[in-house]
């Protein structure tokens, strides 16, 4: 009996000690890698709409389109032209669309573009982007071009801000101002940066959602 009790007690102590050791070994870190689920929306089309502040009927629209997100075909830049008047201020709005399921005749056009009247098969990706302003930034780069040069003739100001603290610019809504100088032309590169945890107001951090260009003339 005494032997048995001694044996049981010894086993119990060993078990408790083993338990303590096992619990301390449970404190390792644990890691999970979550890949993004396959995208169900593509960003095929960027529309830039410029409304003359002094004459709202004077609206200039240009469209950059690539219906093959895989890059198998070159982008369609036939509508990527923007004609602006000298000494004029424009309220500018950018739209991003998914037209992968839209028939050619129903694609967005520069004539009388209206975001509320796009084809039912076209997805307005811009609405979603505007809900994610906290980690998006539009950056514009002008190339000098002809005449006095676009860099000297066009100023661009981002008008919209996100909800970060402090608020940072976004660039979906902008103001373009042309100067009262000679005729100029050039190229405008528009890049949407995706900056999920690195947005700091500058264009460098993050990845790129789209990188498109428009040929701009100031007359």
């Amino acid at each position: 009996m005494k032997k048995s009790i001694f044996f049981l007690t010894t086993i119990a102590f060993i078990a408790v000690a083993a338990f303590m050791l096992s619990t301390s070994s449970c404190k390792k870190s644990e890691t999970v890698v979550t890949p993004h689920p396959p995208a169900n929306e593509f960003l095929t089309t960027v529309v830039m709409e410029c409304i003359n502040n002094n004459a709202p009927h004077d609206t200039e629209t240009c469209i950059w389109r690539d219906l093959t997100p895989s890059g198998s075909n070159p982008p369609d830049t036939s509508l990527a032209f923007l004609n602006l008047a000298r000494n004029t201020t424009y309220a500018v709005k950018l739209y991003a669309l998914d037209e992968t399921k839209t028939a050619t005749p129903m694609l967005a056009d520069t004539n009388h573009f209206d975001i509320n009247k796009i084809a039912s098969t076209t997805v307005d990706v811009q609405t979603e982007l505007e809900q994610r302003v906290n980690y998006h930034l539009i950056c514009f780069t002008l190339t000098q071009g002809t005449g006095v040069g676009l860099v000297n003739d066009l100023s661009i100001v981002r008008d919209d801000y996100d909800n970060n603290s402090p608020p940072l610019q976004v660039g979906f809504v902008d103001t373009f101002t042309t100067l009262n100088t000679a005729v100029s032309g050039g190229r405008m590169e528009v890049v949407q940066h995706h900056q999920p945890n690195v947005k700091n107001g500058s264009c460098e951090p993050g990845s790129i959602d789209y990188d498109v260009f428009f040929n701009v003339n100031v007359k």
Binding site: S22, T23, T31, H194, S207
Partner: protein, 266 residues
């Protein structure tokens, strides 16, 4: 699983002791055979309960984590764990005594997949890597009343009601963001320690192995509610889950086995 095996081993051990005792004619219980005090080790499995076990990551439009959703704010992602400690007491009469416990509990993290997928949805990026380290750690320093009701000279039903100081620490959560082949940094919800009042209520059975050794099996309900003020580093926006304060009851049921050294007053 390892913890469970050890728990079952101890349980079987205790049952074996009971069976052995059943074969021995019971003696009349009287005060002369009962110990006055005890000191021992306890350890067991701890089942977390309540809001801090919830794993909610509720998003709204465009994957935005809803910062005013009560489920989001109360979710603590606590898993089950283990507990062990040192316990001692002194019975100043047949049924009633005073004593205390110093115990440590560790809880794993539950819902790591859920939180990682939530961040991925919120940030709309190619990959999120979420690492949790530390788990929840809780230290209890408690004292209070002990009760026992002996129904033989070897067996007694025991109960306790303790209160005291609790110090708890939350896990560290590191979230690395990658998109378009670009590393977008790692932000961290830092480990945080907070103190509060805590209490325990326990019910169990004790078995006297010999004149100076005993075993016990206990079920213990433990609760505390520390107010964690959590630091988040390298966090540049509030789109994904962001907890800066967490105050929810840290409640658990502990199933413990103990080995005690019995002290008899001379």
């Amino acid at each position: 699983m390892k913890n469970l095996s050890i728990f079952i081993l101890l349980l079987a051990l205790n049952m074996g002791a009971n069976a052995q005792d059943a074969a021995t004619p019971a003696k009349n219980s009287d005060n002369s055979t009962m110990s006055n005090g005890f000191i021992g080790l306890i350890g067991g499995y701890s089942i977390s309960m309540g809001n801090w076990t919830h794993t909610s990551y509720i998003t709204g439009d465009a994957g935005k984590w809803l910062s005013d959703n009560p489920d989001n704010l109360s979710a603590g992602f606590a898993g089950n764990g283990s507990t062990y400690g040192v316990e001692g007491g002194w019975y100043f009469c047949k049924y009633l005594g005073i004593g205390g416990v110093v115990s440590y509990s560790h809880y794993g993290f539950s819902g790591l997949d859920s939180i990682s997928a939530g961040y991925d949805k919120s940030f709309d990026v190619d990959q999120i890597t979420t690492t949790v380290s530390g788990g929840y750690d809780i230290w209890n320093f408690m004292g209070g009343l002990y009760f026992r009701y002996p129904f033989s000279d070897k067996f007694a039903i025991t109960a306790k009601l303790l209160g005291g100081f609790t110090s708890a620490t939350t896990p560290q959560i590191d979230v690395a963001v990658e998109d378009g082949g670009v590393e977008d940094g790692t932000f961290t919800q830092q480990r945080c320690t907070a103190n509060s009042f805590g209490y325990m209520a326990g019910l169990g059975v004790s078995y006297k192995l010999s004149k100076c050794m005993g075993l016990n099996l206990q079920g213990i309900y433990a609760s505390s509610e520390p107010d964690f003020l959590i630091d988040n580093t390298n966090r540049n926006n509030t789109i994904g889950r962001l907890i800066t304060e967490y105050k929810q009851p840290l409640t658990s049921i502990n199933i413990c086995l103990g080995v005690t050294y019995l002290i008899k007053a001379k």
